[in-house]
Each structure stands twice: as structure tokens, then as C-alpha cells.
Subunit: 553 residues, 2 copies
């Protein structure tokens, strides 16, 4: 497969977009019949239904050693019944090693062609992936479509573009011609971008494609064979992605084992064995901090992590307090706070928040936030779809415990009915008021729909706490509300020292949770929330090594 | 200080050279009076002489807590008697922190202006630095001039150029304008390249400027204050460099503490305390593998190492065996094998080396190598100047022990007289024949003028050993001699898998030891010889973090 004119245009546009960092999307985010076809949604739903209680046979990973699967839908709380071919770590490594020869020798153009082709194939399965994502992660339909489909593919394309650019950054060969006075010293020099070796991508249960494809495509474009180790609870979305990558590889004459799926179960996880294998040179990981930190310390590997963070919102002064409360209510409720970018700590000065009309007291703001959340949750056209479901039962325990923490409960969690799924695992947000001295409580991530209102002495104290928590415990994003240019500059500067991006004065239909491909770096890599960033150039450069060759002419 | 047209041209040329990777040098490598002035050499020598047995007062690091120094010339084996201001780790960190505010807020243009200005100032002291380098490292005059002067400054300029390019790679601000159907979502976005924090550069005794300035300038251009911790035995060359950086900083109105020298003594080394300090975020290191590996494992820091490696030469077939022996003899003798790029293991098949005329037997080649080394060493116009001196007494012990190792001694080490310095510490190369099964012996670095002739079954066995040693113990460079295109391809491929650059068929006045700025990546970062490469883009990118800011328009 060579890089067709059509794919070359996609690649060139993506590289340009990487540098312009303005709005760019290769894959439309609206699940519109006009874009994706009149029957696309229904077809996707049917395909997903047909996959239930069956073997997933698409992968072409031959000679399955076992068939395993233990997914369960948070919407029905019943097993999906899908089983996947499963293999020992030795088999996976051996096959990856065998496939390395062909893949490492492919040109960047050929690799880009295969990978863009796979994205074009995946586009035809966005709706199926959406239903697969809903019934593993608990996301609402719209988020499941967007995050696992077009947004994930745009992030994958971003990684291809970034990798391709780095691979082509230096000349393949040159004449090095050094004047020595009476003669010239001439060397023919050439360079190879050598892939580091086998890459393992460790997925999470909440964003099984969005968080995995950047690492998958970044490792593949730079010539490394990949082994995708999904979360046992969220396999089917990335299994569909893997099967399409496999098809593109095979059509181009590459070994299917360049991209393998490595399914395991809660009873026998293979992640450590894979990660510690000496032939594994690259690891991408999304998940809890403890395991992420263990991976970061494995010697001799390039490790890219997105761990947990504690995201803050700093409230000082606003134009319209109601719009702010509504915006934050949505951010807290969206997918029940299970996004890595969900805000948790809302810092409000004890004297309240300045508005053009009046000073809004701490209590008045708290009540407005509670009311906004209730309005959203109780709106039958919005509530169930914005909240989605709780992916993991343990999150429900955490929500329950949150109400017993040392603080005033402004809003209790409850459940609401999803009209389509009567048995859906739903918990609405809990809002707790916490004293600024109670740092132990709010310095850790309380994953799920749990938000804390922290009463501080003043905004400088809010900023100091937000910075300290980001520096010590990590943060992936930060919201801030201020109409004062000096305060805005101060917040930017302080949070930048904690390597935390800041969104100012968001109201309306843009939320702190959203990080856009080709524009927002996702995770900065500069605080404990993770050491990697989509897609800082480092994200691709660390996956290969420049090796030079010289010879006199 | 703004970026003048003159400095802008230097910067632009350097950035272009980084990408062209053909021959480029900003600073002429010949110590020619026509270039540097009729009295430059004599002036430099006098200045160095005047520095002896005195306080080094140029640094403007105020309120010295102590004055210390313990350097000794390998040429005279007497103390230099120079003392430097010395400070506690706490003082160094506190001053670096204080200076961080101003430096991090300077624009990339302003930083580049200061740093290029310092290189222009350093150019005026190349001869003084050459004598300082001779009398600390034991290098010969020509190497001392070139490596510590123009070559080091070119590497520094390369780091400035690479850093500047990355800092300017993405726009400072954009309008993000997303069509939403009936309206557009508009965000003003901006980004800051946030320096990571205090950088520590740990120098070595053999190349006190060349191995340190890339890290110094890479950290400085990206906004980090630096603390330079030289090897106690080789301070004066980098002290001169530091003093010129200080002058440029101060002339531009920046705090002198942006670049501090941290001198210690063998009795009380401060390296660990500096490296482990939580405020130190970046470490550059050249030295032994044990300490380098310890540094690489310090959590939460960007660490760049050049450790030790074992460099191989693979001999299969040659055009002219005498020229090959002469070239290798020079590579082995140059600075008495104390370069990180010096060849150690020469792999020769038991059936010898093919030439157009005949098969040269193993023994005949060994004898030719011995003769070539003797010719070089005994040539009074070449020997003492190519060999230089042994920097560290321990290296003399290692040479002595080498002759007792398990192998046939083809050439014993001896001493020769340097006409200028009767007391110079000189040891000529030792050549040992070792069996290919004696891997323990040749898998470790035998630092100094020690070369091993390893008799292998055939060239494939030679390649396998060279690759294995590079993968397991590191290698910075590799030489190979073959006239067979298939074998050349095979060697390239195999050594590239060990991330080791290969120089083929070097004869005449180009040597495997030489890595040129703006063209050869020095150390690939892909094997245990080190995790960093001059100047792979990774070398500058890991010194800062991209942080984004967004606000609705």
C-alpha cells in the first residue's frame, strides 16, 4: 500500500493543523444521517446486538489459546457475553517480535498509508463503537459516539501526523563536505529512525478508545509492533478498532501481529507480565496513579502515563453568576464526573464572588450550583443522557461515603430513571462544602460525581491551594472565573508553574472537560497527573532512536 | 538585550544547519593566527599562567562561603593552585530559585541573544580555555583547542538552535473557531512553554566543556536556571565559560545567578545533594555508568546521561589493510583512548581479513596494528601530541592490569617523553588478543589506551558480539570495514537494532572518534551508553512543558 493522493491530503492537512492549532477535525463529530448515512445508526446498533453472547471472530489472531471475556453493561447490569481470543504473554511477545522485521522496515509513507486506511475503515463503524462504548463505559450515547468515534480518530490522526513529521524531520542522507584547506573531507552520511521495539498499550474502563488510540498510532507510525491490553471491563470498542487496523495491515501485506489485542480477565491479569517483559520497550497507560507510577519506574522503557489528577475551579468574579453555575453543573454532571478532566474542587472565597451587580455570597453560589444540577438532572430530555451510568460499582460506594465526609452536604446523590434502561446504574452528583484547612480530604481524587465547594480566605488562597494540589497530586485541567485582567494573569502564571492548563470564564456550551484534538495538549506531562501529553512532539520522539551511518565518498 | 541582526543570522544559520546536517561550523576549528589574531595563542597562554595559584575572581558569585580548588596538571603532575568561590547546596538552590522569575519570563529571542552573545565572548578565550583544558584533562594542544573551544561552542549553538526552534514551533495564540451549525464556538487560546525548573549539569574530567555546554545551553534557552557542578579535577575550563555567560547575562540585565558554578572537592562532593534536591528538575550528566543509572532513577526529574560504552570495530574486508591499521592506530592512541568514542574491541575473524590481493591473517593484522601504533607513538612530531596525558592515575593502574588479563599481549604499554613536559603522565597503548568466548573480559569498558583484538569464528559472529555488547553494556560508536555491500547492509541493520551509529571504511584523516556538531547525533539514547543524544529534539523538549490557556471570545 502506497500513500494515495487522498490519504496524502489527509496527512498534509493533519500536519498543518498540528501547527496551526486552530479548529480542525477530519472526522465529523455529529452522528448525523446526512454525514454517516440514513441507516448508519440502526446498522451500528444491530451489529452491536449481534456481537452479544458470541465469540468476537474478527481479529484474525489465529490459534486462540482460550476464549475469554467478562464485560458487563452499566445500562443493564448484565454480562455482554462476548468472548475474545486470548493468548499467553509469551505467545503475544513472540508474535510481536516476528512481525517487527517487516514493520520496522516499512517506510513512513507506507506506515501512514496503512494507518490512515484503518481510520477510514473505523469511520464506517463509529455507530457500532458508540453502542459498544455505552455498554462498557456507561457513557451517554452522544459522548460515546463522539469520544470513541470521531474524537478518538482525530487524536489517532494527530499522532500519525506528529510521528510522520518527526520521522521526516531530518534528511535520509547527505554529503558531508568539510573544507580542510588543501582538500575537502567528504563523507556520505545517512540516518535511520529506529523503532524502540514492542509497545504495550494499557487501556482504561472509561475511555477505551479515546485514551488508547494516541499511543497505538504513535507507536505504529514510528515502526513499533503494538500489543493492546484493554481493561477487562471495556474490550469491545477497542476490539473493533483493532480488527480494522488488522484488515488494513493485511491488505497492505503486513503481518496481522503488528497490532495484537491481548484480552485478560479480572481473575488473571497479564498487565504486569507484559509490562515487565524485557522485549517490551514502550508502554502507554491510562489509569490509577499507583500502577502508573510503578510503570514509570520500570527501567529501560519509554513510558507514557495519564494517571489521576485533582482538577480545580477558581471562582473570583464573574459576569453572570447563573450562567457560571449552569456551566459548572454540566461539567460536574457530564458522564457522572468520570472524565479525567471533570472538576472536583471549586474554590470560593468566604466573602463570595463579585458580579457587576452585587457580591454573591458563598452560600448563595452553593445554592445556585445545587439548583443548576437539580434542573439538569431532573430534565428528562437531558439528565439521563448527560449523566450516563456509573461504570464501576466501587464508584457508587465512593459517592455514598462522600456524604459521610467532614463537610456540609449541600446536595445528596440520588438515582433517576433512564427511560430506555430501567436497570441503569445511575448516581446523581453529590456536593459537599469543605473547609480550606481540610486539605487531606480534597487533595485526593474522588473519582465520580463528587464536587467539593472549598471556602477559602480569599482568591490568592484559592490559587495557592489549586497550585499546590496540582504540583503534589496532579491536575489535568483547571477552570477559573475572573473579570480582573491582573488576577487572570496571576492565575495563569501560578497554574502554569504547576503545568496545569487553565480555561477562563467558560459559559454556554463549552466546558472545562473538553480537550480538542489538534489544538489542546491533553495532560501537560509536567505534574503528577501523568508524564505524557497528546500530542507534544515528545510523545512520538521517545518511540524511536536516530542512528547515523557514515562512509568516506 | 534584543536579538541583533548579526545574532539573528547566526541563529538562523544554525537552525538551517540542524536540518541540513551537512558540514557547518560557526566557530573555526583551526587555531590559526589569521583567524584568531597574531597574539591570541600567546595571550591565552599568559592568561592561563596568571590564573595559576590565584583566586578565580571572575564569576561575580558574591559572598563566597569558601574558596576551594584541587586541580592538578597531568602534564606537570603538580597542583594548579587555583581556588574558586564555593557555596552550600542551600545557597545555590536559593539563588537559582530567585533568578528563575526573571529568566523564565524572558522571551526566546532575548534568551537566544544573551546565549549567543556569551558564545561570542567565549570565542575570545578559546586559547586560554585550550591551555586550561590541557592542564586539567591531559589532552594534547590541538584537541584541547578544538574540543573545548570551537567544537564545544558549536555544540552549544546547536542546543540553542534546537531549543529556540521548539519554543517557536507552535503559535503563541490563536482564534479557535468551531462551526456548530447555527453559530460558531470561538475561543481565544494561548500557550506558554514553561521551563521545568532548576537544572544541574554534572561535568566530567576529560571533556569539561564539550560534554557540559550542550546541557547548559539547552536548559538555559528553554528558561531554566542552571547550576554547573564541574568535576573537581577539571574546573578551570568551564569556569571561564561560566564567567562569560555571567557577563552576557548581566549586560542584558538578568541576574548573574541564572548560571552558577558549584565547585566542590574530592573530600566533600555535593553532587548527590544537588541532584536529589526536590527543586532540581533537570540533570545533565557525563561520567561512569553506576552514578548515571542512579541519576536516571531519581523520580520526577528529566535526566540526560552520557555514561560509558564499549565501542567495537568489525573487520571483514578492506581495500588497503595498511591504511586501515594506521587509521585504527590513531583512533586508539588519540588522547590515550580517553574519549567516549574510542574503539576498544576489534573483532577479527580467525581466518583473517579479505583484501583485493590476499587474505590477511589475524596475526598479520595484529602485527600491522602494533607496528602502526609504534610508528605513531615513536614519531616525536606526533606521538606526545596525539597521546596527550593520562588524566587519572587510576587509568594507569588499569593499563598495568590489562597486561595481566587472560589474553596474549601483542603490545605492552610504555611511557615516552613529552619534550615540553618532562613529568607528563604518559602511557602508550596496550594491545591484547582475547578469545571470543572470554566475553566477561571484553564486555566492560576498559577506559584508557587499551585495545582488544578479539578472534571470532566469522564476521557474523563479530557482528553478533558487537550488537550484544552494545545492547547490554552500551556503545557510543562502532567502526566497520567491509567492501561487500550485503555485509554492509547487514552490519548497519544489526547495529541499528542496538542503536549504535556505524562508520564504514574510515581511512585517512577521519576517525571513528569524531562526532561533528550539526550533523552527527552524539550518543543515540537507545542503548545503555546513555539516555540522551546531542541534539535529538528530545534533548530540548524534555526541559519545558507546554501549558495552554483558553477563554471564550
Amino acid at each position: 500500500m502506497s500513500l494515495s493522493a487522498e490519504y496524502k491530503t489527509i496527512l498534509d492537512n493533519a500536519i498543518r493543523a498540528l501547527h496551526e492549532r486552530t479548529f480542525f477535525a477530519q472526522y465529523p463529530e455529529h452522528p448525523s444521517p446526512k454525514i454517516y448515512g440514513e441507516t448508519a445508526d440502526e446498522d451500528g446498533r444491530s451489529k452491536f446486538q449481534a456481537a452479544l453472547n458470541n465469540k468476537f471472530e474478527e481479529l484474525d489472531q489465529h490459534r486462540a489459546e482460550k476464549w475469554e471475556g467478562c464485560e458487563e453493561s452499566p445500562y443493564t447490569q448484565e454480562p455482554l457475553g462476548i468472548t475474545y481470543p486470548s493468548f499467553s504473554v509469551e505467545t503475544l511477545i513472540e508474535r510481536a517480535s516476528d512481525s517487527f522485521e517487516a514493520w520496522r522496515k516499512a517506510s513512513p509513507e507506507d506506515r501512514a498509508a496503512v494507518l490512515i486506511d484503518s481510520l477510514e475503515k473505523i469511520k464506517g463503524r463509529f455507530f457500532e463503537i458508540a453502542y459498544a462504548t455505552m455498554h462498557t463505559t456507561g457513557q451517554g450515547y452522544m459522548m460515546a459516539f463522539q469520544a470513541s468515534g470521531p474524537h478518538a480518530s482525530d487524536r489517532a490522526l494527530e499522532a500519525i501526523a506528529a510521528g510522520y513529521e518527526e520521522l521526516k524531520r531530518f534528511p535520509e542522507e547527505v554529503l558531508w563536505d568539510k573544507p580542510m584547506g588543501k582538500y575537502n573531507l567528504r563523507l556520505h552520511k545517512s540516518w535511520k529512525a529506529m523503532p524502540k521495539g514492542i509497545a504495550v498499550i494499557i487501556g482504561c474502563s472509561t475511555f477505551p478508545t479515546w485514551n488508547s488510540v494516541p499511543g497505538i498510532y504513535a507507536s505504529l507510525i514510528t515502526g513499533n509492533p503494538v500489543i493492546i491490553k484493554p481493561h477487562p471491563g471495556a474490550v469491545i470498542p477497542i476490539a473493533i478498532v483493532t480488527s480494522e487496523i488488522s484488515k488494513s495491515l493485511q491488505e497492505a501485506g503486513f503481518p496481522v501481529d503488528v497490532c495484537q489485542l491481548a484480552v485478560d480477565t479480572y481473575e488473571k491479569m497479564i498487565t504486569r507480565d507484559l509490562a515487565e517483559h524485557p522485549d517490551v520497550k514502550i508502554i502507554d497507560y491510562t489509569g490509577n496513579s499507583e500502577f502508573g507510577t510503578y510503570l514509570e519506574h520500570l527501567p529501560g522503557k519509554s513510558v507514557f502515563t495519564e494517571k489521576t489528577g485533582v482538577n480545580s475551579v477558581i471562582l473570583e468574579s464573574v459576569e453572570n453568576i447563573d450562567k457560571v453555575a449552569q456551566n459548572l453543573a454540566f461539567s460536574i454532571a457530564l458522564y457522572s464526573g468520570q472524565m479525567c478532566t471533570a472538576p472536583q474542587n471549586l474554590f470560593v472565597p468566604k466573602d463570595g464572588i463579585r458580579t457587576p451587580e452585587e457580591q454573591v455570597s458563598f452560600d448563595d453560589f452553593a445554592q445556585k450550583l445545587v439548583d443548576s444540577i437539580n434542573d439538569l438532572v431532573d430534565n428528562p430530555k437531558a439528565g439521563p443522557f448527560v449523566l450516563g451510568c456509573i461504570q464501576n460499582r466501587k464508584t457508587c460506594d465512593r459517592i455514598e461515603n462522600a456524604e459521610k465526609l467532614d463537610g456540609k452536604v449541600w446536595l445528596k446523590s440520588r438515582t433517576i430513571e433512564n427511560p430506555q434502561f430501567k436497570n441503569a446504574r445511575i448516581s446523581t452528583p453529590v456536593i459537599l462544602e469543605v473547609d480550606e484547612n481540610n486539605q487531606d480530604l480534597f487533595s485526593k481524587e474522588l473519582f465520580g460525581p463528587i464536587a467539593l465547594l472549598i471556602k477559602t480566605n480569599d482568591t490568592r488562597a484559592s490559587v495557592a491551594l489549586a497550585r499546590k494540589i496540582a504540583e503534589e497530586h496532579g491536575a489535568i485541567t483547571c477552570g477559573a472565573y475572573t473579570t480582573d485582567p491582573d488576577m487572570k494573569e496571576y492565575i495563569s502564571d501560578q497554574m502554569s508553574l504547576a503545568a496545569t492548563p487553565v480555561s477562563f470564564n467558560l459559559v454556554g456550551s463549552i466546558y472545562v472537560n473538553q480537550h480538542a484534538g489538534f489544538s489542546d495538549f491533553h495532560v501537560t506531562g509536567g505534574n503528577p497527573a501523568g508524564n505524557a501529553s497528546f500530542t507534544n512532539p515528545e510523545y512520538v520522539i521517545k518511540r524511536f532512536t536516530w542512528v547515523g551511518f557514515r562512509e568516506p565518498v
